[in-house]
């Protein structure tokens, strides 16, 4: 067998988005020898694309905001499916994590009195998103990247992990390949942090990039870890729908945060008709009241465009289904009639640019055409809320790949603060584990040889399908049978078809050499994509109710029985199994906050 490049680090962070970089910074701070690796170049992870902002109860615009209200909003937005300990940590720590970024050089937009400006977003009671125009993610990733560079943390770029290695129950290392050369690299590590992000590339219409193939979810599954909440996939209500080239590309919720409104083809602001009963008291009753709220009148209630994403996405789907859609099957998002051109260009420069260049639409003059797009996976690796350790000793997870925080529906802006709060916790948790672990776990050379052989197998075949074609079929399958509305029959077919696709992938062929070969990379990604697709389909079958982002046509209502249960999926031998597990109950004082009895003003 070929010589394999080898490295060893106390803590290995797989992923260089916000979560991975923040984790590495913390692990380094507490003295661990840490390295990060990523599939793309440094600074290109999904985090760079985040637009709207990071949620933190800084209370710089609405002085009445507090961690208690952020905590309550998060749990309510998650339809009771969030782990309260994670929601609490997020609400309490996010302000400090944002201020810390400022100390490292991030420059957020400012209030007139020199503090961090926050903007309103869906599901947040008060203006709460720290932002930089509509390029908040760029500011965040660059600041963290600079910090990693200043701390001299090694970064292996364009290096993709394909397998986790274990020594008995405990984690021992990871096998990766370098994209440029196609050569394999072995990393031994005492602790590994998965910070690999999401899985949207299993669907057809998505805001996600090629990186989002669910590698971390699949690696954790392979290692035998528990995953929770996999049935909850967020459809962002506003993706671009036209032209085809940009179908799915995100239109930030910041447009609505800045006062943008949704209309159907009749010109009707339909969201007023979709306010759920339980939320009615908190949302404006008339357009006039909504406009007053946008103008800053504290007595008015917020516009229904700022309902949570699950509600808004469903409303758009219904409007289109009932024949009130736009020419390309979306609805209209209009900021042109609400804000002056100068303001729009200043607060939403990249949206302005994106529509102008890619759709030929001037958003300061015309409405945008938008519709739902697969955006974010709420489900992920089940972790301990203090340390982010999974059920596999030495394996940690943070960011989008971790489960538990966002429940059945993530609030906008809560991901960026999630990355900071839980990235940091994972960094210290993993470093502490590495110290405790003592001697290095050993890796099984035979297992490595096998994995390398399997990875190279498609080059050997003289005949076989093109991996891109299989990926494309999977995307159609997931979009149609495991999309925003699901039912038993379709889900069962999906599980079956995923199995068939797996069989076809096993016989697919890769042409060309090992150097920077996207055909081969896609073939390797297929393994993750098929695994994550099966996890989602199986969890969706198990949750026989509709809740948050998970809509079952055959069970259109919430089931109180399932209200306090997680669906846990894991690998047992060669099968994916599901089970139900109670969600921990919050203590009485927090329950009071949730019921709005405390600190609601």
């Amino acid at each position: 067998m070929e010589e394999i490049e080898r490295h060893q680090h106390d803590v290995l962070v797989i992923g260089a988005g916000g979560a991975g970089l923040r984790a590495a910074i913390e692990a380094k701070r507490v003295g661990a020898k840490v390295a990060v690796l990523c599939k793309s170049l440094l600074g290109k992870a999904h985090t760079v694309m985040a637009e709207g902002g990071a949620a933190a109860a800084l209370a710089t615009v609405a002085p009445e905001d507090s961690w208690e209200i952020h905590f309550r909003d998060t749990i309510r937005g998650g339809k009771g499916m969030s782990d309260w300990r994670m929601a609490l940590a997020l609400a309490q720590e996010a302000p400090a994590r944002i201020r810390e970024l400022e100390a490292w050089g991030a420059l957020f937009d400012r209030t007139a009195d020199g503090r961090i400006l926050v903007r309103p977003f869906g599901g947040h009671t008060h203006a709460r998103l720290a932002h930089v125009g509509d390029r908040t993610g760029l500011e965040m990733i660059r600041t963290l990247q600079d910090r990693v560079v200043a701390l001299d943390i090694p970064a292996y770029m364009e290096c993709t992990v394909i397998r986790l290695l274990k020594d008995g129950p405990r984690i021992a290392g990871a096998l990766a390949y370098r994209r440029a050369t196609g050569h394999f690299v072995l990393f031994r590590a005492k602790a590994i942090i998965l910070a690999t992000g999401g899985a949207g590339k299993a669907w057809l219409v998505t805001s996600n990039s090629w990186e989002y193939t669910g590698d971390g979810h699949a690696l954790a599954t392979q290692a035998g870890a528990d995953l929770i909440g996999m049935e909850f996939m967020q459809f962002h209500p506003t993706g671009m729908v036209w032209p085809p080239s940009v179908h799915g590309t995100l239109v930030t919720e910041g447009v609505r945060g800045e006062g943008g409104v949704l209309r159907n083809s009749k010109g009707d602001r339909f969201m007023f008709r979709y306010i759920p009963e339980a939320w009615r008291a908190e949302y404006a009753a008339t357009e006039e009241e909504a406009d007053r709220w946008v103008a800053g009148h504290r007595s008015a209630r917020r516009p229904p465009e700022l309902l949570t994403r699950d509600v808004t996405a469903r409303a758009i789907v219904q409007e289109v289904a009932e024949g009130r859609g736009s020419p390309h099957g979306g609805v209209y998002l209009d900021i042109a009639t609400k804000r002056d051109p100068e303001y729009i260009r200043r607060k939403l420069p990249s949206m302005y640019h994106q529509f102008k260049e890619l759709a030929g639409v001037d958003i300061t003059k015309e409405p945008m055409e938008v519709g739902p797009t697969v955006h974010y996976i709420m489900g992920g690796v089940k972790v301990d809320p203090e340390t982010q350790e999974s059920t596999v000793p030495g394996l940690f997870a943070a960011g989008e790949v971790a489960g538990g925080l966002h429940g059945a529906n993530r609030l906008g802006g809560n991901s960026l603060s999630d990355l900071l709060v839980f990235g940091r916790r994972a960094g210290s948790g993993a470093a502490a584990y590495a110290t405790r672990a003592g001697a290095w776990a050993s890796v099984n050379e035979h297992e490595i040889e096998e994995a390398v052989r399997a990875a190279l197998a498609p080059f050997e075949r003289g005949d076989g399908e093109n991996p891109f074609a299989i990926h494309n079929e999977l995307r159609h399958l997931m979009q149609h049978k495991v999309g925003s509305a699901r039912a038993r029959a379709g889900l069962e077919e999906a599980v079956e078809e995923i199995r068939t696709l797996r069989g076809r992938a096993a016989c697919a062929r890769v042409t060309g050499g090992r150097e920077y070969n996207p055909g081969w990379h896609t073939w390797l990604d297929l393994h993750s994509l098929l695994t994550v697709s099966e996890l989602v389909a199986r969890a969706a079958l198990e949750r026989s109710e509709s809740r948050g982002a998970h809509t079952r046509d055959d069970y259109p209502r919430e089931d109180p029985e399932l209200a306090r249960l997680h669906i846990v999926v894991r690998r047992d031998a060669d099968r994916i199994t599901t089970r139900r597990e109670p969600i921990p109950e919050p203590p009485p004082e927090l329950k009071q906050i949730l019921e709005g009895k405390k600190a609601s003003g």
Binding site: A103, G105, E357
Partner: protein, 247 residues
Amino acid sequence: MAERVFRVFRGTRERGELVDYRVEASEGMVVLDALHSIQARQAPDLAVRWNCKAGKCGSCSAEVNGSPRLTCMTRVDDFPANEPITVTPMQAFPVIKDLVTDVSWNYEVARRIPPFRARSPDFPDGSWRIYPYEVERAQEFRKCIECFLCQDVCHVLRTHGKHAEFMGPAFLVRAAAYETHPLDVEERSSYLKDEGGIGYCNITKCCTEVCPESIQITDNAIIPLKERVVTRHYDPLLKLVRRIARH
């Protein structure tokens, strides 16, 4: 819609050629879409980088008909329908394969720039007051998406290969982002003058023309930095006074 011809560089550092591919053009198609279509149907091993497909990450840089562009923001219908569109890798960096170049040199330069260092906090809770007018200048430079198109076009790197002596416009922008940061107190003028080689820039402004973020690289970043280097470098007393004042 019509078929279009894409003439794409295929090969490595040692050898390569332009290969023609026919692609069915759809409405609103960008060059990156065409490359993806070639990958999916004709040449699965065609190497390209991309991530966001919306001009936000700076991964998909290449040269379209010889000019440095983000391929995800370059509309196919901007070019005459009857002529092939040529796509080649950035010239200022060694080719790895096809349209993918080895840009690691840029990351090394980034490691050498003296990093951001904040003045001590204004308040006991560790925070600062920063007013809106103070962030504007630095925010322009912080828009940089590290696409390296400006590095690609700059003749000091592209034609003269002075990678060892000159940091290039992208990192002058980075340095300007630190230098105009309202909290920063680091001293970078000797770095800029010596290791960074700011003197190599002769203000041709080609970098500004290609910047997809419309950063006024030459006027707003490089020229003020050059002025700073001159005043600070030749006036040690001023430098000392400034240091004391800022701490």
